[in-house]
Amino acid sequence: MKPDSRFNTLVKSTKDVNFTLFGEVVTAPKGSTLAAAILSHSGDAFRQTETGALRSAFCMMGVCFECLVEVNGNPNTQSCMILVEDKMVVKRQVGLRQIGICEND
């Protein structure tokens, strides 16, 4: 079962962007960090570790590296450190980043 968001969205935004989150098209306020956008939609894990343990955003300030997701094909992206953008494709990261599949390297 997919857990609901663990947060209430209290401030409605006037400008939204659309992005694909774990295979589903969702909206998020422009200017929001990607991690915040994910948290407001889902209470589910952001990634799975090498051993299969579930992890989500933890510190929201770029210290813990738990909020890693695959963004537009780039794995190991800290979602708390980037802003959500229109047409972004965000996938759950399963296991360690694989060498050779990063588009921008």
Partner: protein, 458 residues
């Protein structure tokens, strides 16, 4: 490569205060911060939230004049700019939009602030467990508020965030506090000095009063913490209160155990550090101006020892005033008078610190977690595995890293180093004061080899 009079790393209260003082006296400033906007954690999104400041209390909106002060053409500023190398010769390498740049300056002010103290217990890695600070960042920057959250731990931020949640009509389900009666007794000796910062004491009492009158249940002196995730995605939180096992179900468990200085950059440059025995953390050794053992590198704010945002802003100003005097931008009398008035202010603000440090002391359970607790989150290493390694003859942190990989993950030890050291020192009956601060090396934040190879040489 661009040359500046000052490069300031970190745009929180210390960094922006230093930048505005220096820039208004005519120096060219480069201000770098890895967050999306100015303000640091404490004044995050203060501009955007101005109309709804009632959630965040007056101290927050006071950051407005600070963040406005950096709109000055002498300040070149970059956000989402990650500094990954600082050198003794005052060369700074930083990454912005996937490109690394080199900047140089005659002076550097490190104002990198603080991070929350890692608070390990079984289950602290689960989705649904976040830090209290992270929740506050989400409230300020994204307008999303915790749903029926349980707050666990200790420290002023716990009460501040609980109060903000109550004001936003999303009150916490419970406050579970690790503070003990003994900690309260120990703090009394520091209370007379703390009375000099009456404003903060009163604010603290107002927070606690608000939490009480909102009817939020509080459990004190709790121990044996454990979180589990059930199949509905809820966190089941187990703890021991007055000898009785209790459990609470919650969507979100927010944990906090105070903050510690972010010293990755200062340690990597080779600045001397010492162990702060009341705050239980390493901090750089600085003089009263924030000057370090490396000529031209200054440190200001919480990254030099935790004193809070009001203090950080003043330390930022002091460092800038010293640099202005050294570069003959201000005369001796301005230098003396300005710094004296700042120091008097600092004396009053900082007088509360020892009281707070003892009142919200770090419990044993956090310093020495149980064997089944994951201590290195990145590499998934438990306390038990560390102890086993030590018993098998591993000596020192470096051997621990290479043999069992604790501290070798992407966070570069930010989440585990302190605890791993506690366990190691305890095992060998050593004290933190007898060992050197852990080394950090550039790149102090991960960047790709591709990006590194594209840095242009001068």
């Amino acid at each position: 490569m661009t040359n500046y009079d000052i490069i300031i790393i970190g745009a929180g209260p210390a960094g922006i205060s230093a930048a505005s003082v220096a820039a208004y006296a005519g120096l060219d400033v480069l201000l770098l911060d890895e967050q999306p906007d100015v303000g640091g954690k404490v004044y995050r999104n203060v501009k955007q939230n101005d109309s709804k400041q009632n959630w965040f209390w007056s101290n927050y909106s006071s950051g407005m004049h600070l963040v406005n002060a950096i709109n000055c053409n002498k300040i070149t500023k970059y956000f989402r700019a990650t500094v990954w190398r600082v050198e003794k010769n005052k060369r700074v390498i930083w990454s912005h939009n996937g490109e690394s740049k080199i900047s140089t300056a005659s002076n550097i002010v490190l104002a990198t602030g603080a991070q929350e103290r890692p608070f390990p217990f079984p289950g602290w890695t689960l989705p649904g467990v976040m830090t209290v600070g992270s929740a506050q960042i989400l409230m300020k920057s994204s307008g999303i508020f915790p749903k029926e959250a349980v707050l666990v731990g200790s420290g002023p931020l716990l009460y501040l965030v609980a109060t903000q949640m109550i004001d936003a009509n999303c009150p916490p389900k419970a406050l579970i506090e690790t503070q003990t009666l003994r900690m309260m007794m120990n703090s009394l000796i520091h209370l007379p000095l703390a009375l000099l910062n009456m404003k903060s004491l009163i604010k603290g009492f107002m927070f606690i009063h608000k939490i009480k009158s909102a009817g939020v249940p509080r459990y004190k002196s709790v121990s044996s913490l454990e979180a589990r995730l059930n199949n509905k995605g809820l966190i089941e939180f187990l703890f021991s209160h007055k000898g009785i096992k209790k459990s609470l179900k919650t969507k979100l468990l927010l944990i906090h155990q105070g903050v510690i200085p972010s010293t990755e950059i200062s340690r990597s440059v080779g600045i001397d550090h010492s162990w702060n025995t009341s705050q239980l953390s390493f901090q750089p050794i600085v003089d009263k101006w924030g000057k370090t053992n490396i000529d031209g590198i200054y440190i200001a704010g919480d990254c030099a020892g935790i004193n809070g945002s009001a203090s950080a802003s003043l330390y930022g100003k002091l460092a800038a005033i010293k640099i202005l005097y050294n570069t003959e931008k201000i005369n001796f009398y301005v230098y003396k008078i300005q710094s004296l008035s700042i120091r008097i202010n600092l004396f009053f603000i900082n007088s509360i610190r020892l009281f707070l440090d003892t009142l919200y002391a770090v419990p044993e359970e956090v310093l020495f977690p149980s064997d089944d607790t994951t201590v290195c989150r990145c590499e998934e290493i438990t306390v038990g595995q560390i102890k086993l390694g030590l018993n098998e003859g591993i000596r020192g942190v470096r051997q621990l890293k290479t043999s069992i990989r604790s501290g070798m993950g992407l966070c570069q030890g930010r989440m585990c180093d302190a605890i791993v050291r506690n366990i190691m020192l305890h095992n060998t009956s050593q004290e933190h004061t007898t060992i050197l601060a852990p080394k950090t090396r550039s790149p102090i934040k991960p960047i790709t080899l591709g990006e590194m190879s594209k840095i242009k040489k001068d």
